[in-house]
């Protein structure tokens, strides 16, 4: 399930609903991404996020399908915030359930790598030094590339 949320969400409540829906799955993995309070020494006062309505959701749906083709997992939950956010606020939440933990861990990791480098979101940081649009770090791209390398190995 994909949810793009213009307002704050409650990860604890979401996880508990997801867990119930997971039935007797042996493993549930969740990842919560939050707004960092500082970036390159400047204090972050707010973050602004936008997406491409309709297209972002469709591509995330395709991503979920891909993850389910790679690992034995149930339908994952992806919640992503848009709009204005404050430091410490939840920005992204990914939940995956599976019979066994390895599938759940890896699928969650894969979904996050995609969300950082390919999903259609744009993030502007408002700091004490001014505003700037963020781009993925080199590590984000190399993290995402791990999954392609694995495809070659198989």
């Amino acid at each position: 399930m994909i949810r793009i949320s213009p307002s704050p969400f409650d990860p604890g409540g979401e996880l508990s609903v997801f867990e119930k829906a997971a039935g007797d799955a042996g493993a549930v993995v969740s990842f919560l991404g939050r707004v960092r309070g500082e970036e390159t020494k400047a204090a972050v006062t707010a973050l602004y996020l936008e997406h491409y309505p309709g297209v972002t959701e469709r591509m995330l749906g395709e991503l979920e399908t891909e993850a389910r083709g790679r690992w034995a997992i149930a339908e994952p939950l992806i919640i992503h915030r848009v709009g204005e956010l404050n430091p410490g606020e939840p920005i992204v939440f990914v939940c995956v359930s599976a019979r066994h933990r390895r599938d759940a861990f890896e699928a969650a990791d894969f979904l996050m790598d995609y969300l950082k480098t390919k999903a259609l979101f744009w993030k502007k940081e408002i700091t004490s030094d001014g505003e700037r649009w963020i781009e993925p770090r080199a590590e984000d791209y190399s993290d995402a590339a791990r999954w392609n390398e694995r495809d070659k190995d198989n």
Partner: protein
């Protein structure tokens, strides 16, 4: 009228997220569209020509470059979600 969408820093440069543009017969592909935009705003034109900028035509990742007056064309700078 073609509908042009800008995201992220491109929207800041364009001074807005959407722009309706009469592209007529003189604009048949993406390159000519960018040339037309660059005529009115050289800085925006240069930003749209950067290699890292992706385009989506009518909500589909563009494989061809042909466009027409009824299309929605989105210019996407590098993404930064999560």
């Amino acid at each position: 009228m073609a509908r042009i969408l800008f995201f992220g820093r491109l929207a800041d440069l364009a001074g807005g997220r959407t722009r309706e543009l009469q592209i007529g017969d003189s604009v048949r592909n993406l390159r000519e569209l960018v040339d037309l935009i660059a005529k009115g705003d050289a800085r925006l034109g240069a930003a749209l020509r950067e290699k890292s900028v992706q385009t989506i035509i009518n909500e589909r990742v563009s494989t061809g470059e042909a466009i027409s007056d009824s299309d929605e064309i989105a210019f996407l700078p590098p993404v930064s979600g999560g």
